[in-house]
């Protein structure tokens, strides 16, 4: 397996990005940053409307970044995305975007990219 110096197998990330290219590209272009999705996220409501819990923030700061960098992200960057992807979203799929963006799908895809590098949340890690 070809690994780069930063311990990330970019080929795997690239595969996932390629497979989902059309839908990711369309979603990133379609997002008008209107933050209307925020109201539909119970975690955003429960966290005093902290903007870091906005569904759009969650996918833009994770998959959005990975996509912009064409998958060339290092392990530290992926580790930093972990709390956004797992602790600020429970994938309840209740968020609603009037532009038709499938937000849970974007968050799931970002998780899948992290998982491909063995970056994922362990439920006993904060104990």
């Amino acid at each position: 397996m070809k690994k780069n110096t930063k311990g990330v197998d970019h080929r795997k990330i690239k595969n996932i990005l390629d497979k989902n290219k059309a839908k990711i590209e369309l979603s990133m272009k379609a997002c008008a940053h209107c933050s209307m999705c925020a109201e539909s996220c119970f975690l955003f409501q429960a966290r005093n409307k902290d903007p870091r819990y906005m569904p759009s923030y969650k996918f833009l700061k994770t998959l959005g970044v990975i996509y912009k960098k064409k998958g060339k992200v290092d392990r530290v960057t992926l580790e930093e995305m972990k709390p956004i992807l797992w602790k600020r979203c429970v994938l309840c799929t209740r968020c609603y975007c009037p532009m038709g963006i499938d937000i849970p799908y974007l968050i799931r895809t970002a998780r899948s990219i992290c998982r491909s590098q063995d970056v994922y949340y362990r439920y006993d890690e904060d104990a």
Partner: protein, 199 residues
């Protein structure tokens, strides 16, 4: 959430016997929370299985892949291309996840790696307690939040403490154990979408 306990390794190995390429599918939902069937546990189970295959001279290979939720069709999509490369699937999810896999890939044998035990609560790290059997007609409203089989004495003490002893004097219809047949849940706000057309 749903609580599970992994089956003994020998039992898992026995069920996948005869299959050369095995894909072990983890679940990022409840079984990750109860530390039994997430990505990490897929990895450890596969390592144990590989060792066992080696010891027994079995020529099988087991790979792993974890989806966010095995009970949701959209989450299984990413498996579609992968599954075709394997002879059988092993599921680290609860029984619902196993069935969803089997439904989506009807030509692949799917085997459970877990014993699904209960709907329960988290007591300590790795310690879970059964709290609900999904009977379909919850009685907790008049039992002070204590589940009947867990003892009437506890119920009495709690209701007394809350000044609600009247609640146990009420006569209720006999329990219909709705969990003796498989049920489908449609939330009221979505009923109109699925209502059967009248002729």
């Amino acid at each position: 959430m749903v609580k599970v306990k992994r089956k003994p390794l020998e039992e898992i190995a026995e069920s996948v016997k005869g299959y050369t390429k095995i894909l072990n599918v983890g679940c990022g939902g409840c079984v990750s929370v109860c530390l039994a069937g997430g990505q990490r546990e897929v990895k450890t189970t596969n390592a144990e299985l590989t060792l066992l295959f080696e010891e027994k001279g079995i020529n099988s290979r087991v790979d792993g892949y974890t989806v966010e939720r095995q009970c949701n069709a959209a989450c299984l999509e990413e498996l579609d291309d992968l599954v075709v490369r394997y002879d059988c699937l092993l599921s680290m999810a609860c029984g619902a996840g196993v069935q969803m896999l089997a439904e989506r890939y009807p030509s692949k044998p799917v085997f459970p790696a877990q014993n699904t035990v209960a709907i329960g609560v988290d007591r300590e790290i790795g310690v879970y307690e059964e709290k609900c059997r999904a009977c379909g007609r919850c009685v907790l409203a008049y039992t002070g939040g204590i589940w009947i089989p867990c003892a009437w004495n506890d119920i009495y003490i709690r209701l007394k403490q809350q000044n609600r002893l009247d609640d146990i004097k009420k006569i209720h219809l006999a329990m219909e154990w709705q969990n003796s047949t498989p049920r489908t849940i449609v939330q009221p706000q979505y009923e109109h979408l699925y209502a059967k057309e009248e002729k």
